[in-house]
């Protein structure tokens, strides 16, 4: 009973910042077009970024999960660099690396601008989230017993069918959790995005500019909407993943 009470206090303390939603800050100001525009930018461009993360990250995760421990150590070390880079530093580095004095010159000739464009927004989101996805997906693949994949091969299934029929179904919850982490990481990213793509403003940047320009009454509706659209999907995935071992 005492332990349960302690756990409840822990959870209460953890969720306490949400009480801020009920603190009086004056009449909330609802700028419908700016708010919905930010939601649209965030959800739309994050969805595109997640598509790229899955398409590029899944084969990489499969490769890393199958190589020798020494080679895996190398790849995971490199991926960790992207995960551990401070967001603001990553944003500045992306701006420089894709700027006019580097790759940006080539991209400009192709008509692609890497500052304050949807492309810059998506590329930044990919950089901040793909490491989380790949490292999580590798862990999910590690949890699939190798002898099952061998048996599937011996039963006449080629590598793709082994992945589709055995590996992925057994690892799918791990993949979902990894994707939800990447989703949250990308959707809530501020430090890197504010450097590379101040425009189009996604939700984090819109919240920041509202706070700077109009104060808390303008921020609160945006904040509520931000929580409402960013939390449910990863929250449900995480809760589902905690329920038990995967079964397809």
């Amino acid at each position: 009973m005492i332990l349960r009470l302690a756990a409840a206090l822990f959870a209460l303390a953890l969720l306490y910042p949400l009480a801020g939603l009920f603190v009086p800050v004056g009449a909330w100001r609802w700028d419908r077009s700016a708010t919905l525009g930010a939601v649209e930018v965030s959800l739309g461009l994050t969805a595109i970024a997640m598509g790229v993360v899955v398409l590029a990250g899944t084969p990489m995760a499969v490769y890393i999960a199958r190589v020798s421990p020494r080679e895996r150590f190398l790849w995971q070390g490199l991926l960790l660099v992207s995960v551990l880079l401070p967001p603001l530093a990553l944003g500045i580095l992306i701006s420089l690396a894709f700027g006019p004095h580097a790759l940006g010159a080539v991209l400009a000739r192709l008509g692609l601008r890497m500052t304050n464009t949807p492309l810059a927004f998506v590329v930044t989101q990919i950089y901040v989230s793909i490491g989380y996805y790949v490292l999580g997906a590798v862990a999910a693949l590690d949890a699939v017993p190798r002898p099952l994949e061998v048996q599937a091969g011996l039963l006449g299934q080629n590598a793709w069918r082994v992945f589709y029929r055995v590996t992925f179904p057994l690892a799918r919850l791990g993949f979902a959790v990894s994707l939800s982490l990447a989703w949250v990481r990308a959707l809530t990213e501020f430090g890197a995005v504010v450097v590379t793509a101040y425009y189009p403003a996604g939700m984090p940047v819109a919240i920041w500019t509202s706070l700077e320009n109009f104060g808390l009454p303008a921020v609160m509706p945006l904040l509520v909407l931000f929580l409402a659209v960013s939390l449910p999907l990863p929250w449900l995935v995480q809760v589902f993943a905690q329920r038990g071992p995967s079964r397809a």
Binding site: G153, L154, L155, R165, R247
Partner: protein
């Protein structure tokens, strides 16, 4: 039908064994634990890659170079059933069959025979993760035989099972081997198990063949003291 020369370095010795078996022949690999028997079988199956040598199955060279597992027409069963836990028993058994072949009358009859003979009818729709170890072993046998492989490799698949079940499975495998004509290679360190399935046995000690003969000869003139000891009743 099977022509194999397996060379594989192990921690304390190098396995270097030649093994030939004709179509429909049953051949045992016998020896003490750690002699290299399982390594030979794993290399033939493709689960391990030999360091040198060759493996030819039914005229197809599967090593060297090493062919992917799915190109080898071989079934491989160990003491781990390795059922797919996210699938039902039925889905496990039918796993290796092409979707269009499952409805063919001959395939349906064969699957029904496997279900009936191996006593897995009652658990046919059960999740594979929810059945007992003995049942799982029978399902794994059915799954392997469902495709009718030309070569069947058994690596101590009966370890840990009770005697009546082992006797029953041995009878079933022997009958199917005669009926289907697959080549059978069995690894076991229990002589009585091998004797029921394989008239001919290759004896392995520290990765080398020390004798290749029928059971009568093995018992009457064992090639090494260790073999004589292994064949002595408890």
């Amino acid at each position: 039908m099977l022509d194999a020369h397996v060379v594989k370095r192990r921690a304390s010795f190098t396995v270097d064994v030649r093994l030939r078996a004709n179509a429909g022949e049953a051949c045992g690999l016998f020896g003490a634990s750690g002699a290299g028997k399982s390594t030979i079988l794993a290399c033939i199956a493709g689960v391990e890659t030999p360091d040198a040598g060759h493996v030819v199955i039914d005229g197809l060279r599967v090593f060297a170079p090493s062919l992917p597992l799915y190109r080898r027409n071989a079934g491989y069963l160990t003491q781990d059933a390795d059922l797919f836990p996210h699938l039902s028993v039925a889905e496990n058994v039918l796993f290796g069959l092409a979707a269009d072949s499952r409805s063919e009358p001959e395939t349906s009859r064969w699957i029904a025979e496997l279900r009936d003979r191996l006593g897995i009818d009652a658990i046919w729709s059960a999740p594979a993760g929810a059945i007992s170890g003995g049942q799982a072993r029978r399902v794994a046998l059915a799954r392997m035989l469902a495709r009718k492989p030309v070569l069947v490799l058994l690596d101590e698949p009966f370890a840990g099972l009770d005697r009546p079940l082992v006797r029953d499975l041995l009878r079933a495998i022997a009958a199917w081997q005669r009926a289907l004509g697959f080549t059978l290679i069995v690894v076991d360190h229990q002589a009585d198990v091998l004797e029921r399935l394989c008239p001919r046995t290759v004896v392995i000690e520290e990765g080398r063949t020390v004798q290749d003969a029928g059971w009568a000869q093995l018992r009457s003139a064992p090639a090494t003291p260790l073999l004589a000891d292994l064949l002595r009743p408890l």
